[in-house]
Symmetry: D3
Subunit: 293 residues, 6 copies
């Protein structure tokens, strides 16, 4: 059967905390059950060793014009169980180098590479949604704070675990979490005491924008949200993401200046006319066909 | 009758989504009904074509020493119905220019001019309060995020509409909304999906600081709040606004440095002595007469 | 009796609004009542004239390797009653200087010195917790926004009082409050109208991360939280604080770069191995002995 | 006679220190004597009161698509004699305002307005060349440091005069001069001692990029340089100016990011193809006709 | 024969403007003729298509612990003849994309990729020296401004050529040249008029730090300079490069803060003790053996 | 005899590389021999251990209203011989701390303290002139780049020595030298190879703004320059220094904004009127008496 919405497929990255895995594992492919139209095709990527594969994976996603949205979830009993202590030991506890400075040099390269593992989520111009159930610990928090939208189930909980293992979180949480939620007192409390935060506080603090009763409801909601974004002009959606991230790291005047440079070409898209016509004809965005991007 | 509080008048800008208007329309002049003293005179400005008139209007307000606060509201059934598609068509869909670069050049000038339309709200040193009822869509969100304080009625709703018409919001929302509310997940969700946000979520997310049951209650509350600000030292109030905006776009150390340079003159105002005396004499701020600014 | 946890003591700074005091006053020494182990020794510092003593006091705390956490509370009926008008008069209302510029010069030095009084709280690498009951006014808000974590009782209230005395708050509130809570509309309202904010709004807006029914419950909670932080690796905890503050004032990429430079030495601590072993042996952090820092 | 190069005309702003003038005065219109082709039409603007007229004048220049370059020179015996003491007296020495803070408020507005007088030179996207002979004092240095290219005669001299009249230069020199020349020791010496700098030192320090024996030679050289810029693609030339100024105030990574956003539309100009064809056909840029901008 | 200085080899990248090449071409391998010791082994990399190969090439160099310095020169009659018009045509003049926005999107990706081609020179922690003879045009200027040290022969000349082909230079020159040389008037003149700059002006303006009579003398000087850097502690040399580049893009206080975080590990190197001992024993740095980095 | 110019005295800090000294040593007091008026009193401070004494010394200078300029020179055969290896050994080579992280922590505190030793030169609002003869090595370069104006004798030479002892210069040179001189190629060459730079290159590169034939001529020139600055309005001179340093670390728009906040009080000084009157009466600045600052 021909794909009725060739430009609207999304990637879905799943993760499974099976005993023999570390962080990521592919789950079964699920298609999107949206009430308004045939399901958009979802492609599930298997990411079993995220530190090694994420950069390449998101490079591929960024370049794939068929992909419009990315959804990251966990297929097992929990979102992510955090870093395995034995894994860490090899990297941090037995570092290479002839002296302290050379060990430091190698550790910095390691940290930068891990940081990049999560920064690719931001560099990817397509929206990335994280759907969390169960535990989201340590590297899981680094991961979701680099996503654009966070959803969770009622049984989800979050823990900035790093101080418990003797280190300051260095691959993103300390940089992004304070820009993601509105209470600095809470951010500091979480990062300095490693206490757990449950779904209600995650919602009231703004870490997640929606809480669902269970995983099925969350996945349905996440897929519907993904469908909303996938249906709209990719010029509009991806330009919005890029400028939202730019604005986070710049003052308002700087952000406006960049925005104007950006839109002086992007406003020349056919999508504006298509959208305007669609609106006048009372069409849903899902009924308008935009070129790929 | 002589004006008993010559320095405390405020501007009130009203907007009415009448069929023949675009964004702004003058409403009837209303005076302030405050319990403690005679009503301060309100001046209502008619702004029927905001894109053309806002810059000049706020230049006038900034220079008018009689004005201490600005209140923006909608006089009709809703705050603002967003941009008219036909208006937009003329600007964006039929751009002038001999080639893509020259069209881009003209579009950038257009975007910068529209951006300035809202930035003048921030450059105006007097506090600007937005009181929203009904719909606040598209350009309405650009407008209110450039205001200092946002209030709304229980029936208000907000929509970052731009992705629906094929473009990334480019006149302020993407730059200011993330600095205005505390949940980045919510900001991204709103901007990437164009979903509506209602009053309760606007309150819990911090977009508005108060929700009122209906428009009459809101206007009473807004006028009372305006009266509070109008009664205080304009040196204190306007210096506070200027430094709050400066701090938003700078780190803490930068902000403190600027603040010290600012207050080395401003602390030499008579208003400090007047306020100190008034406090010792148990006076309300409204009983103290400050010079205009 | 030998100190069983020599590296875990904390400073506790207390404040008492007795009639003859200004801002700070020493309270009785209290020890920490933690359920899991003997109480860590608390040292109470007497700070009766904060503007003069805070810098020296926190210099001492920063250099004292025995101190791991600082807890600031008020011993009297309220957290702080704000600045005394007579005190202010001497500084601001009777400034020295032969002309306006020279008065300005001296006022700037005065402001910078007061700003430093609160900035030392941030420069101190040990976490600082503020526990607020009753009133927290003016300088009290400057103080607590420079702390890392804020707790309060149900009867607490907060007031940015400066516009009431004719000046823009210039020693920290305008710079830090907007970065501490998630609603800019609320920040502006508080600073421009000087209205009081009570405990519930302080919690929902994110100013405090926990509200306790009364002062006893709050102190118990605060001490327990302090014990949690004091029990963990000081390399991890203090590195976390330093990088959280760095991140507040920088974009994400800048923060990640600094973090990597920081941790290339800090990951070489024994604390990682000690923590990893402790975790594998199912020990609580409080059972692990870390070297002082 | 038809204009053979309709898009290449330039404005020329002249200045004459006649006794009754303050800073600016129109000189006689001069046309460009270029060896390779007919003279491009020069328009001379009369600017007799720069503080009042510069903003409007450069707004007009920015919008005039026929203008491609601006050349600023002095028609009298010297470039500019600096600010008249009597003029200054009215503004600074008799300021309006009820108290020190209100005088400060008005002075700040005055300073900002004067600053804008020179900042418009940078905001104008067309290159601005300053050709200096004789004295360039005080406001003259503010002016030329806001230009893109500086030329002078052998008899020219420059003086940052402000410390001699009891004030720190506040309309641009202290901000721009250090970014214009390569020796900070020299910048500081000039600004702190008000000593004169002559043409040779102006050249070796990089303030000017060329020194000419006399005014006639300089004007010929300036007009030829203006003709070179006027002959090239305005998309290229004006985009270059805008990005050079952006780069001055940003780090390299920021500048590259902005540049990429800029050129994603500007590379779509016909001018690239026209230039490429012209180059292959061994044409001079002056033989290629670009659309106006 | 065993390599007597295993840690001191350098890469040498050569370029040859043969008719059939574009930008880069491998030259013959040359060894270093230094008077004080046996020649350090030089490895010559062949880079015939820099836009495709530079990123990978410098990734390899960055990771190669045997490499301490990189020297880039041209093996033919000139350093680089600039971009080939036919090459450019394929990329810029026939861009892909369904509409203006999508073409812009692809052009931005292209620009970002080209920018990265030169930015890798800065990201490489080893010093990069450019030795220029003959012409250095267009992309050649982008290249050398991303190097750390620039040398040239008396017959060298430099040209920012982009305005001649209708575009603003977008892969580095406009961002780096103003930070590399001390005269902004000269930078602007070069970029806006595309005039040539010869060796003497390149030296007096600071673009190059040394001029040599001919290519042989330059290569001897460059190799000797490279040997000086290769002989010193790589912890010191590479840390110096990284912090010099950091400082370029940050204020002094920011740079000092980063420097302190950097050196808190790097000062723990054995190289300090080795260097101190060597100095006390009157050894040349070339007689001290440092571990690789 | 009464002091005829009570506000014009300057501090003079001297340094002597006697065998038993480290960096600084007091020289004999010298008074200023200026042709136009009686000598202003010079006070010579003895700074024998700069790392310990500089902060306190410049705190004292900053607060001493009688001091208007500071002149730093070497009383012995050379300006400074650099850091003593035995001194360094105690600090860097035998660091305290239980593990690598704790050693790093202590090293960072040490670096920050040394950095502050030179940063106080910038924080001091009075101009600081460095007069260099003979060698200026290592810490000497850190020192002079933190001064405002640099002069030297024909026999002076400069050396960024740190790479020779195995470390990246971490107390100021790498941060300030690139902002002080105009050639980045030269800065990098000096810092990466530790080669000496002599007076002529120091002058042509902009490191010093004047070269004198010998030390007597330099001291006469330095004292005359100091007298020029000491004679002018301290409000103007010190405000100029503060804003020049602010501008170095900020973009132009930021610098202009700060400048306007600064001068809104400083323009209200009597010094403007005194200077204006003095100018109209053809007085030299040295004949005008300004109040102290």
């Amino acid at each position: 059967m021909a794909d009725p919405h060739p430009g609207r497929s999304t990637y879905r990255i799943m993760d499974s905390p099976l005993p023999d895995s570390r962080l990521w594992r592919p789950g079964p492919v699920r298609t999107m059950s949206s009430s308004d139209g045939p399901p958009a095709p979802f492609t599930t990527l298997a990411v079993s060793r995220p530190a090694e594969e994420m950069v390449e994976c998101f490079q591929q996603i960024s370049d794939d014009q068929a992909c419009r949205v990315v959804l990251i979830s966990g297929a097992g009993t929990t979102f992510t169980a955090g870093i395995d202590l034995m894994d860490m030991a090899a990297d941090i506890l037995q570092p290479e180098g002839d002296d302290t400075a050379r060990i430091a040099w190698n550790l910095r390269k390691l940290i930068r590479r891990y940081q990049e593992t999560f920064s690719v989520l931001e560099k990817c111009p397509k929206p990335v949604v994280a759907a969390v159930h169960g535990a989201c610990i340590g590297g899981g928090v680094d991961l979701i704070t680099a996503c654009d939208i966070r959803l969770c189930t009622q049984d989800a909980w979050f823990q900035v675990k790093e101080v418990d293992i003797g280190l300051a979180a260095d691959v993103g949480t300390l940089q992004r979490l304070p820009k993601v939620i509105g209470s600095r007192s809470l951010v500091n409390e979480l990062a300095l005491t490693a206490r757990k935060m449950y779904a209600d506080e995650a919602k009231s603090s703004g870490l997640v924008s929606r809480v669902f009763p269970d995983q099925d409801a969350m996945m349905a909601g996440a897929l519907q949200m993904a469908a909303e974004m996938a249906a709209r002009s990719p010029v509009a959606v991806q330009g919005t993401k890029i400028n939202l991230i730019y604005s986070r790291d710049h003052g308002v005047a700087e952000g406006l200046d960049y925005m104007a440079a950006w839109n002086m070409s992007m406003l020349q898209t056919q999508d504006v006319m298509k959208s305007a016509q669609g609106t006048m004809e009372k069409k849903s965005p899902k009924e308008i066909l935009f070129s790929k991007l």
